[in-house]
C-alpha cells in the first residue's frame, strides 16, 4: 500500500515536471493510474478481453514481422534449397554466397552513395524550404497569409499530372540523368509544411516578442530562438523527408536511363533487379560468375535486406519521432 502511495507521489511529481507536455500525455498518465486501481478487481470477462487483445495483437505483429524474417532466412539460404523447396524463414543451410556476390559488385556501394547523398542533401534543403515557408505562415500578423496559404494548398488539390511534369523536368529543366533529379522534384511537401506551421503556431510567442523588442530581425528570431526550441517538430518533419528520399524510386525510374546506372538509388536497384536482367548481367561481369550460375533467388533477398538494413536498425530510435508526427499534426492551427 505504501508502495502504491509513493508511486503516486512520484507520478504527481512527474506530472508537475512535465506540465508543459501535451494533453495527450496527460490522458495516458491518468489512464495508467486507473489501471493501477483496476488490477485488483479484474473480473473474468475483463480477463478474457485482455487475453483476446493480446492474442490478436501478437498475431498481427507476427504477420508484420514475417516478411522481414523471410528475407533474412532467404538471403542466408543456399540457392539450391530455394529453387527446390522455396524460401523459408529458417534456412536449411547457412550460406553467405549471395552476400559474397553483392559485396564484390560495386553496384551496391554506388547505390548506397547515391541514396545517402540524396537523403542527406535533400532533407537539409527540404527542411530549409519548409521552415522558411512555415514560420512566416504561422505569424498572425502577416496580412497576406491567407492568399499564400491558398497558393500552397491549391497544389495539394490540383496538379499537372505525369506528362507535363515529365516534360518540364526532362525537356525544359534538362535534369534527366542528373543526380539532382532525385533531389529537386520532391524537395518540398505542402503537407509537411502545414504540419511544421501548426507546430510553430503552437509555440509560445513571448520569446520571439521579446527578441523583437531587443531589435532582432525575423531571420535571427527564426534561426536563433525559434528553431532551437522546435527540435521535436524539426526532428519529425526531417524524418518524413528523409524517409521519402530514402524510399524513392519513382523519379529514378522516370528520369534515370540505363546509361546513368551509377546514380540508381537503392530502392530502384531492387526494382531493377526484379524487372530486368541488366543488374544481374552487371553482377556477373564483376564477379566472374556467369549469369546462369548466379544465385539470383537468394541475391534478390540479400539485396533487399541490405537496402532496408539501416532503416530497420535505426527504427527504434526514429519511431518516437514518427509517432510524434501525428501529435504535431493534431495541434491544428
Amino acid at each position: 500500500m505504501t508502495n502504491q502511495i509513493s508511486q503516486k507521489s512520484i507520478d504527481r511529481k512527474n506530472t508537475v515536471r512535465k506540465s508543459e507536455s501535451i494533453e495527450k500525455n496527460k490522458g495516458l498518465r491518468s489512464n495508467k493510474s486507473t489501471e493501477k486501481k483496476h488490477k485488483f478487481r479484474m473480473s473474468g470477462q475483463d480477463l478474457t478481453l485482455q487475453i483476446i487483445c493480446i492474442v490478436v495483437i501478437v498475431v498481427f505483429c507476427i504477420a508484420c514481422l514475417m516478411p522481414f524474417l523471410l528475407i533474412i532466412g532467404g538471403s542466408f539460404d543456399k540457392e539450391i534449397n530455394v529453387t527446390k523447396y522455396g524460401y523459408s524463414i529458417i534456412p536449411k543451410d547457412f550460406s553467405l554466397e549471395a552476400y559474397k556476390v553483392i559485396f564484390k559488385d560495386p553496384t551496391i556501394y554506388r547505390a548506397y552513395g547515391s541514396t545517402i547523398f540524396t537523403t542527406v542533401a535533400g532533407t537539409v534543403l527540404a527542411m530549409l524550404l519548409t521552415v522558411t515557408m512555415a514560420y512566416p505562415l504561422a505569424q498572425q500578423k502577416l496580412k497576406f497569409r491567407t492568399p499564400i496559404i491558398f497558393f500552397v494548398y491549391f497544389t495539394m488539390l490540383f496538379g499537372g499530372g505525369l506528362v507535363p511534369t515529365y516534360l518540364l523536368i526532362s525537356k525544359y529543366l534538362n535534369l534527366s540523368d542528373n543526380i539532382w533529379v532525385l533531389i529537386l522534384p520532391i524537395m518540398f511537401s505542402a503537407w509537411n509544411m502545414f504540419l511544421m506551421r501548426n507546430f510553430f503556431a503552437g509555440l509560445p510567442g513571448e520569446l520571439s516578442e521579446s527578441a523583437k523588442i531587443d531589435g532582432a530581425n525575423d531571420f535571427q528570431i527564426l534561426f536563433r530562438i525559434v528553431l532551437p526550441i522546435s527540435k521535436p517538430g524539426i526532428a519529425t518533419i526531417s524524418m518524413f523527408y528523409a524517409l521519402g528520399y530514402w524510399n524513392q524510386w519513382y523519379n529514378a525510374m522516370l528520369y534515370l536511363g540505363n546509361n546513368s546506372r551509377n546514380l540508381f538509388p537503392l530502392q530502384y536497384l531492387i526494382m531493377d533487379l526484379t524487372r530486368t536482367t541488366d543488374a544481374l548481367k552487371e553482377m556477373a561481369q564483376y564477379t566472374g560468375i556467369s549469369v546462369v550460375n548466379l544465385p539470383d533467388n537468394t541475391l534478390k533477398m540479400a539485396t533487399t535486406l541490405v537496402t532496408i538494413g539501416p532503416i530497420v536498425l535505426l527504427y527504434p530510435f526514429l519511431q518516437k519521432y514518427f509517432t510524434q508526427g501525428l501529435t504535431v499534426g493534431s495541434i491544428k492551427g
Binding site: 495527450k24 490522458g27 486507473t34 489501471e35 483496476h38 470477462q45 478481453l49 485482455q50 487483445c53 490478436v56 495483437i57 498481427f60 505483429c61 508484420c64 516478411p67 522481414f68 523471410l70 528475407i71 530455394v82 523447396y85 522455396g86 524460401y87 524550404l129 522558411t132 515557408m133 512566416p136 505569424q139 498572425q140 500578423k141 496580412k143 497544389t155 490540383f158 496538379g159 499530372g161 505525369l162 506528362v163 507535363p164 511534369t165 516534360l167 518540364l168 529537386l184 518540398f188 525575423d218 531571420f219 524510399n247 524510386w249 530502384y268 531492387i270 526494382m271 526484379t274 524487372r275 534478390k300 537496402t307 532496408i308 530497420v312 527504427y315 514518427f322 509517432t323 501525428l326 491544428k332
Partner: protein
C-alpha cells in the same frame, strides 16, 4: 483552430495598393524568407499546369507545347480517344473499387487494433507490439514487392510451395488476376493498419477518463465500456477520416500498384488504375495527348470530390474541415 477562426471572423478591410506595399515593407524579412519555397512551388507545381494544354493539342516533341496544332474535334480529340479507349471503364472502376476496399479494411483494422492496444495493461508489451505494428510503414513498395515475390513467387515463393506440397496444384499468382484485389488489400492492411492506429489511439487516450470511471462505478465491464463509450465517441473520428479518404478515391496509388504489378499485363484486368494507365500511355503507347487528358480528367474529378467531401466534413464537424 480558435485563433484561425478569430482571424477569419475579423472584418476584413479592403486594402489599398499603398497599404499592401507598406505591409510588404513592414514584414519584409518574413516575406523574403518565403521566396525560395514560393519559387520552388511556382516551378514544380504551377509549371506543369501550363502543360495541361497538351491535353487539347496534337502534341509533337519538335514543335513544343505552344506551337503544336490544336487537336481535332474542337480540341477534345484526346478526350474522345480516351473515353472510347477499350477497357478504360475497367481502369476507372479499378481505381475506385480498390480505393474503397483499402479505406474500408484499413480503417476497420486500425480501429480494432487501436482499441486493443489501449486495452493492453502490460506497458512493455504494449510498446514493443506497437513499434512492430508500425514498422511496415517504413519500407518502400519496391521492398514490399520483393517480400511478396518471396511469398507467392511462382517458382520459389513460400506460400506457392506450401500449397503445392499440400494440394499438388501450383497456383500462378502472378498470372491470375482474380487473386489480386485480395492480395492488394492484405498488403495495404499489413502496411497501413499499424500506422493508422496512431491517430485512433491518440483520440481514445484523449477521451475524458471521468466517463470510464463513472461507467466502472456503475459496474460496467471493460467490454461494455468499449461498446458504450469508446466506439460511440470514436464514431466522429472514423467518419471524418473515411470521408477524407473518399475525397481521394479517384487517385490511384501509383507507387504501390506499379511497384507490385509493374508491366505485368496479365494482371491489368483487376489492378490497372488511372495512374498506371497514364504512365503506360506515356511510356508504351507514347500517346502524350491522351495521357495528359487522363490526368487532367482525374485532377478535375478529384478536385470536385475533395471540395464536396470538405463541404460534408464542415457540416459534421467544422473543426476538421480543411478549408
Amino acid at each position: 483552430m480558435k485563433k484561425k477562426k478569430r482571424f477569419n471572423n475579423k472584418k476584413r478591410k479592403h486594402m489599398t495598393i499603398k497599404e499592401g506595399f507598406k505591409e510588404l515593407w513592414v514584414n519584409k524579412f518574413l516575406y523574403a524568407m518565403m521566396v525560395p519555397a514560393i519559387v520552388w512551388i511556382l516551378i514544380f507545381c504551377y509549371g506543369p499546369l501550363y502543360g495541361i494544354l497538351i491535353a487539347f493539342k496534337k502534341f509533337s516533341y519538335k514543335l513544343g507545347i505552344l506551337k503544336s496544332p490544336w487537336a481535332d474535334f474542337y480540341g477534345l480529340e484526346n478526350f474522345r480517344f480516351l473515353f472510347n479507349y477499350k477497357g478504360i471503364g475497367r481502369v476507372f472502376f479499378n481505381t475506385i473499387f480498390l480505393n474503397l476496399l483499402f479505406i474500408l479494411f484499413v480503417t476497420a483494422f486500425s480501429v480494432i487494433l487501436a482499441i486493443m492496444f489501449v486495452e493492453i495493461r502490460n506497458k512493455t508489451f504494449k510498446k514493443l507490439t506497437q513499434s512492430i505494428a508500425i514498422l511496415p510503414h517504413f519500407v518502400s513498395w519496391a521492398v514490399v514487392a520483393m517480400f511478396l515475390s518471396g511469398f507467392i513467387g511462382i517458382n520459389s515463393g513460400m506460400i506457392t510451395k506450401l500449397i503445392e506440397t499440400m494440394t499438388g496444384n501450383k497456383i500462378a499468382f502472378y498470372t491470375s488476376s482474380q487473386y489480386w484485389p485480395a492480395i492488394l488489400v492484405a498488403l495495404r492492411i499489413w502496411q497501413g493498419a499499424g500506422y493508422g492506429t496512431i491517430v485512433y489511439i491518440a483520440t481514445i487516450t484523449g477521451f475524458d477518463p471521468g466517463m470510464y470511471e463513472a461507467a466502472k462505478v456503475d459496474g460496467a465491464t471493460r467490454f461494455q465500456q468499449i461498446r458504450m463509450i469508446t466506439l460511440p465517441l470514436l464514431k466522429t473520428t472514423i467518419i471524418l477520416l473515411t470521408i477524407m479518404g473518399l475525397g481521394n478515391v479517384f487517385r490511384g496509388d501509383f507507387g504501390m500498384i506499379y511497384a507490385l504489378i509493374g508491366d505485368n499485363s496479365k494482371l491489368y484486368a483487376t489492378t490497372d488504375v488511372i495512374d498506371t494507365f497514364t504512365y503506360r500511355a506515356l511510356r508504351e503507347l507514347g500517346n502524350l495527348g491522351m495521357s495528359t487528358a487522363t490526368s487532367f480528367f482525374q485532377s478535375v474529378v478529384g478536385f470536385v470530390l475533395v471540395f464536396t467531401v470538405n463541404g460534408i466534413t464542415r457540416k459534421i464537424e467544422p473543426d476538421s474541415a480543411i478549408f
